[in-house]
């Protein structure tokens, strides 16, 4: 019977995709900047100087990307499984608050143990919130999109309450917790930068998740849940249990990302910490199309763009949100890329063929509704 060559090395395709996306980002960025009356070249130089020309700058980019990577994983695995946990934002924040509490009130303990405790507490806090939303979805069929969006406001306010009342550091202004014990802080890797040995935690998490989602049986069934719940059920997957697991583990990762920020860089939770980070993670998961290595890549690219945009803001006075706008436009393009390709192909056909043949729009049935879920 036929022998099998190993799976072809796929990097070239990935590389093409990355280059194409960066090309598009560069074009959109340059156009946007020109419209705003700034010189793209000056902006490009400013972007480079702030972020890439030295160990400190690169360390800054990496340090910023670490929590984004973790929460990006959270979004990826959730969306991959066909569930839309949009409460990652608040789950991350609650995780930060829980980590902050564990880092001050428990201990001092042996440092590696306490750091682990902080991370696990943060993760569990996020997981509990996500589990509640998941339970409502799986057993009562409460749409998790709406419930998780609403939960954000409730959970964030609850975290702020924790920082304002029961766990407040009285020596600080409103709404800040105590600074965590030194034993709960991750040791710095390159002195003078925010980069800590926590990078090893992220590497470990990445490797484990890579194995699970790109190699293991669990990852394969997980993906099948995302493709079709009914097929998954007929294949023998316990879809309720899986649904709970998918949502809960994404919440765990969000909480872990929050606690990671506390242990690595922030060292305390305060009101308004990390606002928007969870949504950043969702965007990263989407642009990476739920692939673990791509999440790492895009989280790095995203934090580079954020810092570069800060540099541009100082240099040419364009608000740094322009980076987010550009990224959002690219993600919209990614979200509709299949339709976009069909559309382009359709026009090309219409251009080259004079007679109208093939199926009519009437037969191009495709519902954007979530019937399959």
């Amino acid at each position: 019977m036929p022998s099998f060559e190993p799976v072809p090395f796929r990097l070239p395709a990935g590389l093409v995709e990355v280059l194409a996306t960066f090309g598009i980002i560069a074009v959109i960025g340059a156009v946007t900047l020109s419209i705003m009356g700034a010189s793209p070249v000056a902006a490009g130089l400013a972007a480079f100087h702030g972020t890439l020309d030295g160990t400190y700058e690169i360390a800054g980019v990496v340090a910023l990307s670490l929590p984004l990577i973790i929460v990006g994983f959270g979004a990826s695995i959730c969306f991959k499984g066909g569930y839309y946990n949009l409460g990652l934002e608040s789950q991350l924040i609650l995780g930060a608050a829980a980590g902050s509490i564990a880092g001050y009130y428990a201990g001092p303990l042996w440092s590696p143990f306490q750091i682990t405790l902080v991370l696990v507490c943060g993760g569990l806090a996020g997981a509990v919130v996500a589990a509640v939303i998941a339970w409502l979805r799986v057993h009562l069929n409460v749409d998790e999109v709406v419930s998780s969006l609403l939960s954000n406001y409730i959970v964030i306010l609850f975290a702020i309450f924790l920082a304002t009342y029961p766990f407040r550091d009285e020596s600080r202004f409103n709404g800040a917790m105590h600074r965590i014990l030194p034993s709960a802080r991750m040791p710095t890797m390159i002195s003078g930068t925010e980069l800590t040995w926590g990078v090893l935690v992220v590497v470990a998490v990445s490797l484990v998740l890579f194995w699970i989602f790109h190699r293991s049986k669990l990852g394969q069934d997980w993906a099948l849940m995302g493709r079709s719940v009914t097929v998954a059920r007929s294949a023998g997957i316990d879809v309720k249990k899986f649904g709970m697991m998918i949502m809960t583990s994404s919440g765990f990762l969000a909480g872990l990302a929050g606690a990671f920020m506390i242990s690595a860089t922030q060292h305390r939770y305060f009101a308004n910490l990390a606002l928007g980070l969870g949504f950043d993670g969702i965007l990263i998961g989407m642009i990476a199309r739920y692939r673990i290595p791509a999440v790492v890549f895009w989280a790095l690219a995203y934090s580079w763009m954020l810092l570069a945009a800060d540099g541009i803001e100082q240099e040419v006075g364009i608000p740094s949100e322009f980076a987010q706008v550009v990224i959002a436009i690219v993600i919209l393009g990614v979200a509709v890329r299949i339709g976009l390709l069909q559309w382009v192909r359709g026009w090309r056909q219409r251009w080259f063929k004079s007679s109208g043949t093939g199926s009519l729009p009437a037969m191009r049935m495709f519902s954007a509704n979530r019937e399959g879920r």
Binding site: D143, L150, E321, A368, N369
Partner: protein, 301 residues
């Protein structure tokens, strides 16, 4: 009595933008698309209304611009989900994110400020003069502080509920959400109808934003929609295709907001009253789901 006046005013201030956006969401859901971009479209509408009012000097032109831009945003959203077949949730999430970032970006570029913008040159939407009706005890002071846009809501709800229930247009929209193939086999252009619905939804979100920024207050601040679009969406899921129930539910949630504001002045941690409208909305969502759940299990035994 002051308390009732206060809570009623606060409830209306909270509810009116939600009802406008909610009708948009209701049209969209009736036609089969659960539009989670209401939040972003409303926020951007608020920004456009403020910017246009500031530069053109008239809140009416501000509203007009917000509606036009809203229509354009709705059309773009429609193209992304209908013509280009994007997943309505992924596009919706990104849309919210894009529009929120865009308001901050434009705020910095146009007004050179971060966070929020307010100016004495910024004129709010005029309030409808009520004449002697304004002297009615309690109610008078509430009613006379309502803008034209707030009053305009009444004909809008009437019109929408009439269109939905009694016209061919409403019939087609309902059929579209029920079974797209039925509409297609009647030879109607499903894609064009869905696009049209999104345009109207965007326009309503534009008005909602204008009322939000130029109604009770006259300012724009980043993220000022504060989840109202999501609350509107939750209400739409709760009430289905009943426009007046939408108004009622929005007002009820508005009252919880009013109570929350009052409670903040009392000796309660401010966060809990602030949570109130979201928590109550979520609770209502759960209760309705629970009722449906009990009903189906009973039937299947």
């Amino acid at each position: 009595m002051d308390l009732i006046v206060f809570i009623t005013s606060a409830a209306l201030a909270y509810a009116i933008p939600i009802v406008y956006a909610g009708i948009g969401g209701q049209i969209s859901l009736a036609s089969g698309d659960l539009n989670i971009a209401l939040e972003g479209e409303m926020l951007f509408g608020a920004f456009v209304a403020v910017a246009a009012t500031y530069f053109l000097g008239s809140p009416w032109l501000g509203i007009l611009c917000a509606v036009i831009v809203g229509a354009a945003l709705g059309l773009l959203f429609g193209i992304l989900i209908v013509s280009l077949k994007g997943n309505v949730f992924l596009v919706g999430i990104t849309y919210n994110f894009l529009l929120a970032a865009l308001t901050v970006l434009l705020l910095g570029m146009i007004f050179g400020v971060r966070g929020s913008f307010s100016s004495p040159d910024l004129i709010g939407i005029p309030k409808l003069p009520l004449g002697t009706f304004g002297d009615i005890p309690f109610l008078g002071s509430v009613l006379s502080s309502q803008t034209y846009v707030a009053w305009f809501l009444i004909p809008v709800v009437f019109l929408w509920s009439y269109v939905l229930r009694s016209t061919p247009l409403g019939l087609r929209i309902r059929a579209l959400g029920d079974n797209q193939e039925a509409v297609r086999s009647a030879g109607l252009n499903v894609d064009r109808m869905r696009l049209g619905v999104q345009i109207v939804c965007g326009m309503l979100c534009g008005i909602a934003g204008a009322q939000l920024a130029l109604g009770a207050l006259t300012l724009f601040s980043a993220g000022m929609s504060a989840g109202r679009g999501f609350v509107a969406l939750a209400i739409v899921i709760l009430v289905g295709q009943r426009p007046w129930m939408l108004v009622l539910a929005a007002f009820a949630f508005g009252i919880t907001d009013g109570i929350g504001i009052k409670l903040q002045q009392a000796d309660v941690p401010a966060q809990f009253p602030q949570m109130l409208p979201y928590a109550v909305t979520l609770l209502a969502l759960i209760l309705v789901a629970l009722r449906g759940h009990l009903r189906t299990t009973r039937r299947s035994r």
